[in-house]
Assembly symmetry: C2
Homo-oligomer: 154 residues x 2
DNA sequence: GTGCGTGCAAAATCTTTGCATACGC
DNA sequence: GCGTATGCAAAGATTTTGCACGCAC
């Protein structure tokens, strides 16, 4: 008779384990708990490192904040999580100008090269989305993560 | 005979002074220097608080970092500066998911309420902008800063 | 003269890191 | 058993704040 599986099935666990082992890394309870938390709350929920820490504590899992920071960075690198930039964390400033209306940024994820562009289409899409749920638009910024030509050829 | 103007003309100074006085605030040399710096380097340049501090020191202006933080916040509130969110400062995470492709965020600047939406139009605009300068698109996120219905009515 | 703004230094956040121990492999 | 990952605490980095003084108005 077959032994019961020690771990419940988790659609993320197999890929997580495989991905980790490819790089000589290890599947630890801490890493599993962080990823399971995100799976449990579902896509589209945004948590900070501190949020993750608290949620895990409430679920009776003590994972140190340092490990959570390390794990979040790892899971983003591996593609399991996305890192968002919402307005709270903005730390750079530029001049407002009529010649230079709402504009957007293309950032090379490898070398950091940044290019700006404008797009009436984007502006309009943001406005429509805002109006649909009754928000009043203030400004919109599209951040495009990309590879620049130089980094593509390397 | 007319007295010479003590201050050189500056296209931002008059609006700055007027805007400040409307709220019972004052036009100080520090505030003027910060705004002049941004004007000197031109629209589209992105500076952090620390950058502003260094640039002013090089221009022989000692303005304390605390004042720079206070002034940047003020100038953003008044609309003279924009606050950007580039990829360096992201601090929130969400699950990646095939059911939940590139999507965008509407954030209420007052209460922080966040709504998501998707837009093929935005995706396409990002793709076109990337291809135009030879970048290869990885992902794009539109952040829309807005006022939610509740906060509008207050 | 009134009271807002500044500088300074201390505090509060938020995030990273060094090191000894624990444990996945 | 080897070597990666963790927890802890300390260090860093960034941003905010309390307070006395200075200066814009």
């Amino acid at each position: 008779m077959a032994l019961p599986s020690a771990k419940p099935f988790n659609r993320f666990e197999a890929p997580l384990e495989v991905g980790l082992h490819q790089d000589g890394r290890r599947l630890t309870p801490q890493r599993r708990k962080v990823l399971e938390l995100f799976e449990r709350i579902g896509a589209g929920m945004h948590l900070s490192a501190e949020d993750v820490h608290h949620q895990l504590l409430e679920a009776r899992s003590r994972v140190s904040l340092a490990t959570i920071y390390r794990t979040l960075r790892l899971l983003v690198q591996m593609g399991f999580l996305h890192e968002l930039e919402l307005s709270e964390g903005g730390h750079r400033f530029e001049l407002s100008s009529d010649d230079h209306p709402d504009h957007h940024h293309l950032v090379c994820v490898r070398c950091g090269r940044t290019e700006e562009f404008e797009s009436e289409q984007v502006l309009q899409a943001g406005r429509i989305a805002a109006e649909r749920i009754g928000f009043h638009l203030i400004e919109s910024t599209l951040n495009v993560r990309a590879l620049c030509p130089t980094c593509q050829s390397q």
